[in-house]
């Protein structure tokens, strides 16, 4: 039981009774009965509602803001502009890296506006409708400038500067790996060059962002819909000139995040600032239009790759330039470099690439800023590499599965360090591929596809392999040059005098079910039932300093910390029990709420009795024991790799270009599964989100930088009719870098699905010579291309 003394990769606890069980979630009852409490549900008497006045143009200089008419509207209490916030320095995300340009996001637009939707003023009123009336009456005069709206426009040059500090609109240009590949490529049998484009999407948690702040004369309490309460606390304290102990940030129930809430929003900071300034509680609840247009977006990238292959399809070299449209500001605290550094750093994915060169570029444009959206560049690199492999296979006349077999990291390679200097722990790359192909009936696919084509039907089969690095620890972030390195996390496990257990942790769930999985982990270590374990998260007054939940870190880092802390507590319980039972601590077994001597179940004492003594009757404790039952531990791993193969069969309607998914198979390996129900749910939701990116969702902008997809009528989030039933299969390679053997897996679904769907769509139209190298693949695109390729008399019908 002493794994706390061993380094990462030490002994693993195997006495599992609860870990591995598909138990229903402990958090469900409240959420199913309307007792969930989200930020927008918090109502303190006297609360003022805040509504933001947002720029209607994408780029321009603010000439004046007239608030007089707004202040005359009934119920309006105040209208605040940047002048009123002059004391706040604004949010500046830092990166210590050559080629990075530091910019600042002011809380409210100060001299200029940089995207349509940027907050310019805030109206506060007694209720939201009145605040909205007031916001309509604020007159903002802006001298409009031409907007910078695309990566290509920036690359062509001559566009105006979004930020003075970056006249060329490049906020990061970093060559991560330089290697002169010319001679390798020259001697390669085949060289493939390819450009892949991925659309701009928005995470769209069903609960938008919101915040409620309350100043009590000395201290601020901020409830906010966030994934990262401590980061918000740091930002708020800094902007308000407070010590962090004067700020309490609470993430109550949070209605999804997917990365959109893992950075600090200027709106949540403003709500905090105004609560003190006006000495009134202030609430802001974002509406869906704001969430689409004005919050953080993600995923818009251009990949330009060159790859060399032998005649047998073995990769000889790969170079890539990754261009990311990060929008108007660098999000705090991670910076806008997250996407380019992740893409360029991890492009080879699960494949052995002997020579590698990579450059990552962050381009600023007059669009809403970006945050690390679920998957963070890995959906894009998976799409890019898989398109490359499919093309190479076709040109070399090699089967698509075979070219992957020849390039995947092999079992004998682990631990494998790639040309990107990343070390992969063991996984099941080849095995998951074979299993997925068998499930799909890949052997018999050519006949089926031929038959379908003969009937005029367009059927396609696709599959993709990928690795999903999870539980990024401090060294990875430090290596990137980030000033904020959110690697470790901490848990405290305490037993109260009745034997009830409370876990407090710095991670912060928003749908992932930590109240259940952490309880399962801790229950096993202490020999109690999960229902006796309460997990507290998301309240900076109650939990240890931690980094919150993003990047599939919680179960690896927070879960390991909880596992280790519970192990320490178990040791103390064993010592106290040994004292009472006159046995050696090593012979004590904790089980079913009691401690007994191994082999002699009758010699036992209840944990509640030990817990009582440890607090209430400490005279019974051994002399050298401290009172209380509480243990704390932290964990900071190097990162651990989950892996998966996704496969899909799709059918395209040649008339409408609509794609329907007939089958979707996932074979994934995330190490030890703590709760299969929850893991499957993460895969389902992730794949659905990836399918959305592949086929349906895309923020669309006109030349002036106006978003044309500002409602859910235009921005098409898929429903239960577009999303198929999923077929899931699990492999299990326990991680050496987590105490439980679990690997993270929250993003995998979203990482694999876009590439998988595209691969299937491309297969369906391969005989027509239609390229599919851009997502979303819209019905319009497919219908027109299919029409043109088959001489359909009326291909333009859809448009």
């Amino acid at each position: 039981m002493d794994d706390t003394a061993t380094p990462a990769g030490g002994t693993r606890w195997t006495g599992n009774k609860w870990v591995g069980r598909p138990m229903s979630r402990l958090e469900d009852a409240a959420l199913l009965t309307g007792r969930g409490r989200y930020t927008g549900d918090i109502d303190v008497p006297g609360t003022l509602e805040a509504v933001f006045v947002r720029s209607t143009v994408a780029s321009g200089e603010i000439l004046g803001i007239d608030t007089t008419a707004a202040l005359d509207r009934p119920g309006v209490q105040a209208v605040v502009t940047a002048t009123d916030l002059a004391a706040t320095p604004g949010l500046t995300a830092l990166l210590e890296r050559e080629g990075f340009v530091t910019t600042t996001m002011p809380l409210l637009a100060t001299d200029g506006v940089r995207y349509a939707g940027e907050p310019v003023a805030v109206v506060l009123a007694s209720d939201r409708a009145r605040a909205e009336d007031g916001a309509e009456s604020v007159v903002v005069e802006i001298a409009e400038k031409p907007a910078v709206i695309s990566i290509d426009q920036v690359r062509e040059g001559g566009a105006g500067a979004v930020h003075e500090e970056a006249p060329d609109n490049i906020l990061l240009d970093s060559t991560l790996f330089s290697d002169d590949l010319d001679s390798v490529l020259e001697s390669s049998h085949l060289v493939v060059t390819k450009r892949v484009d991925t659309g701009r999407v928005v995470a769209l948690p069903m609960e938008g962002r919101s915040a409620h702040a309350h100043w009590d004369g000395d201290r601020l309490t901020l409830h906010t819909s966030t994934q990262v309460p401590h980061m918000v606390r740091s930002a708020v304290a800094e902007q308000m000139g407070l010590m962090e102990n004067q700020v309490r940030v609470v993430a109550p129930d949070v209605g999804g995040g997917f990365g959109q809430k893992c950075v600090v929003a200027r709106e949540e900071v403003i709500v905090a600032v105004l609560a003190r300034m006006l000495d009134r509680p202030v609430r802001w609840v974002e509406d869906r239009g704001e969430n689409i247009v004005a919050s953080f977006a993600g995923h818009e990238q251009v990949h330009e790759m060159t790859a060399g292959f032998t005649a047998e399809g073995v990769l000889t070299a790969l170079s890539t330039d990754v261009w990311c449209d990060v929008g108007a500001y660098s999000a705090y605290p991670f910076t806008c470099a997250v996407e380019p550094l992740m893409a360029a750093g991890e492009l080879p994915g699960p494949y052995r690439v002997p020579r590698y060169a990579a450059r990552g570029v962050a381009v600023t444009t007059n669009k809403s800023p970006t945050a690390p959206y679920r998957g963070v560049s890995r959906p894009q690199i998976t799409l890019a590499v898989e398109r490359l492999l499919d093309e190479a296979a076709a040109r070399l006349g090699i089967d698509r599965a075979e070219i992957r077999r020849r390039n995947l990291i092999r079992p004998e390679d682990f631990p494998y360090t790639g040309a990107n200097l990343v070390t992969y722990d063991a996984g099941t790359y080849g095995e998951s591929l074979e299993m997925c192909l068998a499930e799909l009936g890949y052997d018999r696919w050519p006949e089926r596809q031929e038959r379908a084509r003969a009937e005029g039907r367009l059927l396609g089969l696709g599959f993709v392999c990928f690795s999903e690095r999870t539980g990024y620890g401090t060294p990875v972030f430090a290596g990137r040059g980030m000033a904020v390195t959110p690697g470790f996390d901490t848990a405290v496990v305490a037993m109260d005098p009745t034997g009830g257990v409370t876990v407090t942790t710095g991670v912060s769930a928003h749908g992932q079910g930590h109240a259940t999985t952490f309880a399962q982990i801790v229950a096993d270590r202490l020999g109690v039932e999960p229902s006796q374990v309460r997990v507290i998260e998301g309240d900076t007054d109650a939990v240890p300093f931690g980094w919150g939940t993003f990047g599939s870190r919680s179960i690896v880092i927070g879960g390991s910390a909880a596992h280790r802390a519970a192990g320490r507590l178990a040791e103390k319980l064993a010592r106290l029990a040994a004292h009472r039972l006159e046995a050696a601590p090593a012979d004590i077994v904790l089980e079913n709420g009691s401690a007994h001597v191994r082999g002699t179940p009758a010699r036992s004492v209840s944990l509640a009795a030990i817990a009582h003594d440890a607090h209430i009757a400490v005279q019974h404790l051994p002399e050298d024991e401290e009172p209380g039952l509480e243990a704390r531990d932290s964990y900071d791993p190097p990162g651990t790799f989950s892996n998966a193969t996704h496969g899909a069969i799709v059918e395209i309607d040649p008339g409408t270009g609509g794609v329907s998914i007939e089958r979707y198979v996932v074979v994934e390996d995330c190490g030890v599964v703590i709760n299969p129900l929850i893991v499957d749910g993460q895969v389902h939701g992730g794949v659905a989100q990836g399918i959305a990116c592949a086929l349906y969702e895309g923020l669309d902008f006109d030349e002036e930088g106006q978003c044309r997809t500002a409602t859910l009528m235009d921005y098409l989030m898929p429903t239960a009719m577009e999303i198929p039933d999923f077929e899931l299969h699990h492999l299990e390679t326990p991680s050496e870098h987590s105490s439980t053997g679990a690997k993270g897996m929250g993003e995998g679904g979203t990482i694999g699905a876009p590439a998988c769907v595209v691969s299937a769509v491309a297969d369906a139209v391969a005989h027509l010579g239609i390229p599919v190298d851009r997502i979303p693949v819209t019905p319009q695109y497919l219908a027109l291309a299919i029409g043109a390729a088959t001489d359909n008399p009326d291909p333009g019908e859809q448009t």
Binding site: S24, R25, E27, D28, A29, L31, L32, T33, G34, R35, G36, R37, Y38, G40, D41, D43, P74, G75, D127, A129, R130, D133, A203, L204, P205, M206, E207, G208, D253, V254, G255, G256, F258, V285, D287, R288, H510, G511, Q512, L677, I678, D680, G681, V683, H684, G685, G686, V687, A688, Q689, T711, L712, M713, M717, T719, A720, M721, I723, D725, F726
Partner: protein, 173 residues
């Protein structure tokens, strides 16, 4: 100029209890439930009638509470998520099924899904999975990929072999 302070008195029942509110005419039913009655189980995900997070049952029919004004609910019987549990506070069959099939993650869409499902389950007999999917497609969920939700509703209305006779045509009456 007309002031915005006019209010109207409206009476209806919510979860079987008679309620009376004094509300501005422009206030939606969703806001009335949340702000005036403190029933924050009804959520707002879009406020433009697409996501269904605000779904409640009005006179037996699932309704988007963000698209209905509070005053339009005068005299109606309204059911919300707060009224679903059994009298002893335990979960009803649909709620339990949602939990068993992991039909919820963040829980934000859940009240709307439950009310949609409740109205459907009351009238559907021997439905099939496809028709359940069609019903669930009225509302949006970002977390679950819908599979757990479809499973949960199916558990109550689908034949074990996944086939069914569809909706009971008499169920409307």
């Amino acid at each position: 100029m007309r002031t915005d302070s006019e209010t109207l008195n409206v009476e209806f029942t919510v979860n079987g209890e008679a309620r009376r509110v004094s509300i501005p005419p422009r206030r939606t039913l969703a806001d009335v439930l949340r702000e005036d009655l403190g029933l924050t189980g009804t959520h707002l995900g879009c406020e433009h009638g697409v996501c269904g997070a605000c779904t409640v049952i009005v006179d037996g029919e699932p309704v988007r509470a963000c698209l209905m004004f509070g005053v339009q609910a005068a005299g109606c019987e309204i059911e919300t998520v707060e009224g679903l549990a059994l009298p002893d506070g335990s979960l009803n069959d649909l709620q339990r099924s949602f939990s068993e099939h992991h039909g919820l993650q963040c829980g934000f869409c859940t009240p709307g899904m439950l009310m949609l499902g409740t109205a459907y389950v009351r009238r559907a007999v021997a439905a099939d999975r496809e028709s359940v999917r069609e019903v669930v497609s009225s509302n949006l969920c970002r977390c679950t990929g819908y599979q757990g939700i479809v499973d949960a509703v199916c558990e109550l209305v689908c034949h074990p072999d996944g086939t069914g006779a569809g909706e009971d045509p008499a169920g409307d009456s």
